[in-house]
Amino acid sequence: MQDINVQLPNLLDQVIQSIPYFKAELALIFAFLGSILATLFVDKWWKHGSFVITLTGIIISFILSTQQLGAPQNGFFGMLIVDNFSVYARGILLLALLLCVVFIQQHFRNKKFSKNLGDIYSILLTAGLGLNILTMTSNWLLAFIAIETVSISSYILVGFFSENKKQAEASMKYVLFGSVSAAVMLYGLSLLYGFTGNLDFTSFEHIQGLIEAPKILLSLALLFMFSGIGFKLSFVPFHVWAPDVYEGAPTPVTAFLSTVPKIGALVLLARLFEEWTSSSFYFSELVLVLVSVAAIVTMLVGNLVALRQTNIKRMMAYSSIGHTGFLLMALIANLASEPQVLLFYIAVYTIMNLAVFGLIDVLEQKTGSAQLESYQGLGRQFPILFTVFTLLGISLVGLPPTAGFIGKLFVFSSVFDLFQFNNNKYYLILLIVGALTSVISLFYYFKIPLFAFLRKGEEVKVAYSKSAQLVYIISILLGISTLVLGIFPSILLSLFK
């Protein structure tokens, strides 16, 4: 214990020095506390108190994090990596979070229930905090903590309102499945720790240890570790919870689940993947194989199963599973190119999904149903809404002239570059499956215009609900932005320099 006493002061010094790198997250923390307090005291007089605080907190955190751009440092003994990649990722996910907050606020604004809406904001902020950390760390400990923070807050998000049976069931499935995979992951991590005696997966010892580790146990540990990340990203075979939870959860929460957490997990996986595949030994290509196979299977399963769905939320759940597969492909593509391709795809994906769920939410409030049949003949009543919806569908399929197409094109390009570079059959299969699944996906995405425009529906005079207005506008704007980004992708790409 001697040495510690000796080190302690300069350890503390380091911690103090590292605080500035943590500004953005601190902002979130303060906002978190603030919103709790506001919920307790302010909201009685001014019911938007906690809401506003949350928004400001997120915005401040966004500004702070953007200031870290172009100044790569790392603090807390290398636990915290503040590089451009993380900054961009945080930027995207904070904005997404912002939108989710708005969605949720709009969704529950004039619903009456016992619980206090303010709490949900603070929970969202925690999730944001966890995700922020997730994007900045290369340390298993921190990563695990972050993942758990996000998971727990998501459980609560899903279960918090429990207006109906479905939400309760969804939350239960979510929490149990999540905890199990977390436990499994933890076990895997413990093994990894055992092999390497070091928790920083970028460090030399870590990789060294992995190289020396016995293959069988190693693969076991890897798979366990992946099960945790896989749960967050919901790629096959860890996707099973997603459809039920997405369907059961309140739509804005679904919007949150399908976008924001994925970003964080993806960034983490990206770091891991890049680190581990860059060094060539047995398990580097093992990791490659695992991810490629996961990507291929996920794309296939997600898109194929989606063909059969009748509930739009469930369909979108599968579609986002399929997109996860494509995100993994983008991740692999990330090997070939700077992160901007990956970031671009993430950004576009987030925009598309938020917009889609926003529209679903609007329609749900208008028609009171999320079944595809309920859209019959609505195209006549909401031409703009469904035009944008169709546009989003096109973008999700990946057809020009939309951002989705550009994203796909970049991913294909990078993967093709890899394929041309080292003639690895996995890349080719990825390309082919990627192309094929986009054809398949067309079929179910176009069920929306099919029902809305092609089918004659009885003229249901829907209640014009004021509440959806803001969400509606936001979604429309997002939808149009996919078109704009499709024609001028440089607007977005030039940001990720």
Binding site: E338, V341, P400, Q420, L442
Partner: protein, 534 residues
């Protein structure tokens, strides 16, 4: 803002205008559409007249006219290199006539959709959108741009078929869409591959510029599609051949060839008349155009190897389509299959790789363009009146609707290749060119020419048979008196649309030089480009 851009984006203005106008001005939409299309046609015609015949086009930029090249997307993708996408337009002898054709067919389509009443706003805006995409395809010289227009074209069509179509429209629409998309996503992969194989000699960056892709010197050695030391194989197929095949399939679906044609009868039959007109008049041509502009120009070496098979496919399509047409009982379906047969000639002619053959193929595309359009329009005429197309439900129309019968007879004889009409020139020169191919040594045997000529015979058979069954003999309708009164002879609007079309067929049949002069230089250039790999 160059002329071509104007040509392409005029319809977009119309769309915007239509969308902005309030619904109570519904009745004016068609006039807006018509007005813009007329302007567009006039512009296209003017371009055609101004077109310099000596332009050799295809693979050197100097051979293109009305060029527009603006840097569109310039991105530094790090290790992927500088992404260089141009807004690059230009026309040569191949695309110029097709451009005019599309403008003309669009005009016809607008005329044909005169009494569309179902949500005209959406209808005309989609039509104009389609118009824009089509124009763009024929003008684009940057593969990326080309692809974007190519895909954008699908969406309006999906809705036009799906919303304004017949009983089985949903199936037809999605089938059409998925079919085409299936071809084009793989095309996208090939485009990406080409992108990485080709560099712009000026900037040294990878490029989507088609003209650069046509020059072997721009290929990076050892890249996936490289000419030199390229050892890439997929399933044992060399990379360049693979690229050719995939691109060919993508366009062949559009042409369409047997056995990738099954979307066509459904789409044509379910689509409303104007859309059938556009499908037959323009869409199929895009396939042929793509094969010439992309497959043969970018992969000439592979094309030369695959030639024999292309010719065979062409012949099969000719005979298969004709035989199918012979057995159809739905008039529209019959004409749809006849399109398959007639487009087979295009493929055969292109495959012959002789100046005569390729010119013949292009000419055939044009003539089929407006002839099939006219035929579909004529079907529409009776369908509008009695909502039936079943051949055996009509008899002796000749005595009941003489003028209509006159037009039908002219259209039929024109499209069965009666000399004096355009189709004859096209088919005859495809046959002659194909026959020459053997002595030129492009690997197309003579029996293909003969087999193709049998197609001409069959086309005469089914068309005359139809004439005999529907129009001659004693008048008798399934609908009895109700039909007899409903089946009024064609009105002025229909005459106004039909007359120029058939007149055009006649003029081109008598003075083919109007078209050949424009395309000769280009065709020769294409032949020389490809034949150096023979």
């Amino acid at each position: 803002m160059g002329l071509l851009s104007l040509l392409i984006f005029l319809p977009l203005v119309a769309t915007a205008l239509i969308l902005l106008l309030p619904n109570r001005m519904q009745s004016n939409y068609k006039y807006i559409a018509l007005g813009f299309t007329v302007i567009q046609f006039a512009l296209a015609g003017w371009l055609y007249v101004q077109f310099d015949n000596s332009a050799s086009g295809i693979n050197q930029i100097s051979g293109f006219q009305y060029l527009e090249q603006l840097p569109w997307i310039r991105l530094d993708l790090g290790s992927l290199g500088q992404l260089e996408i141009d807004y690059f337009l230009g026309v040569d002898g191949v695309s110029m006539p097709l451009l005019v054709l599309s403008a003309f067919v669009m005009l016809m389509a607008i005329g044909a959709s005169w009494n569309i009443t179902k949500s005209t706003k959406g209808y005309f805006s989609l039509l104009m959108l389609l118009n824009m995409a089509v124009m763009g395809i024929f003008c684009a010289l940057d593969f990326f741009l080309f692809y974007i227009f190519y895909e954008v074209m699908l969406l309006p069509l999906y809705f036009l078929i799906g919303i304004w179509g017949g009983a089985n429209r949903e199936y037809a629409a999605i089938k059409f869409f998925i079919y085409t998309l299936f071809g084009s996503v793989f095309m996208l992969l090939i485009i990406v591959g080409l992108y990485f194989s080709v560099v712009n000699p000026d900037t040294g960056a990878h490029t989507f510029n088609m003209l650069h892709m046509m020059n072997p010197n721009n290929y990076v050695d050892g890249s996936f599609f490289a000419y030199l030391n390229n050892y890439y194989e997929v399933l044992g197929i060399p990379a360049r051949m693979l690229g050719f095949i995939v691109l060919f399939v993508a366009f062949a679906i559009k042409v369409p060839i047997v056995p990738l044609h099954t979307w066509l009868p459904d789409a044509h039959v379910e689509a409303p008349t104007p859309v059938s007109i556009i499908l037959a008049g323009i869409l199929l041509k895009i396939g042929g155009y793509g094969i010439i502009r992309v497959c043969y120009s970018i992969f000439p070496d592979a094309a030369v190897d695959a030639n024999w098979w292309l010719g065979l496919i062409g012949v099969i399509s000719i005979l298969y389509g004709a035989l199918n047409a012979l057995a159809q009982k739905d008039l529209k379906r019959l004409i749809a299959y006849s399109s398959v047969s007639h487009m087979g000639f295009v493929l055969l002619g292109v495959a012959s790789l002789t100046a005569e053959g390729i010119s013949g193929a292009l000419f055939q595309m044009l003539s089929h363009g407006f002839l099939s359009a006219a035929l579909f329009f004529l079907v529409g005429v009776i369908y509008d009146r009695v909502h039936d197309r079943y051949i055996y439900n009509f008899r002796g129309l000749a005595s009941h609707m003489p003028a209509y019968t006159g037009f039908v007879a002219v259209a039929f004889f024109a499209s069965l290749g009666l000399p004096g009409f355009s189709a004859f020139i096209g088919e005859a020169f495809v046959i002659i060119g194909t026959f020459n191919a053997e002595s030129v040594g492009t690997g197309i045997p003579r029996w293909m020419a003969i087999a193709g000529s049998i197609g001409i015979l069959l086309s005469a058979a089914y068309l005359l048979w139809t004439l005999q069954r529907m129009f001659f003999g004693q008048t008798r309708f399934k609908g009895g008196e109700a039909w007899a009164s409903a089946l009024t002879d064609i009105n002025t609007r229909e005459r106004i649309i039909l007359f120029p079309t058939l007149a055009l067929a006649l003029v081109l049949g008598i003075m083919p030089s109007l078209v050949f002069d424009k395309m000769n230089a280009t065709v020769l250039n294409l032949v020389s480009l490809v034949s150096q790999y023979l």
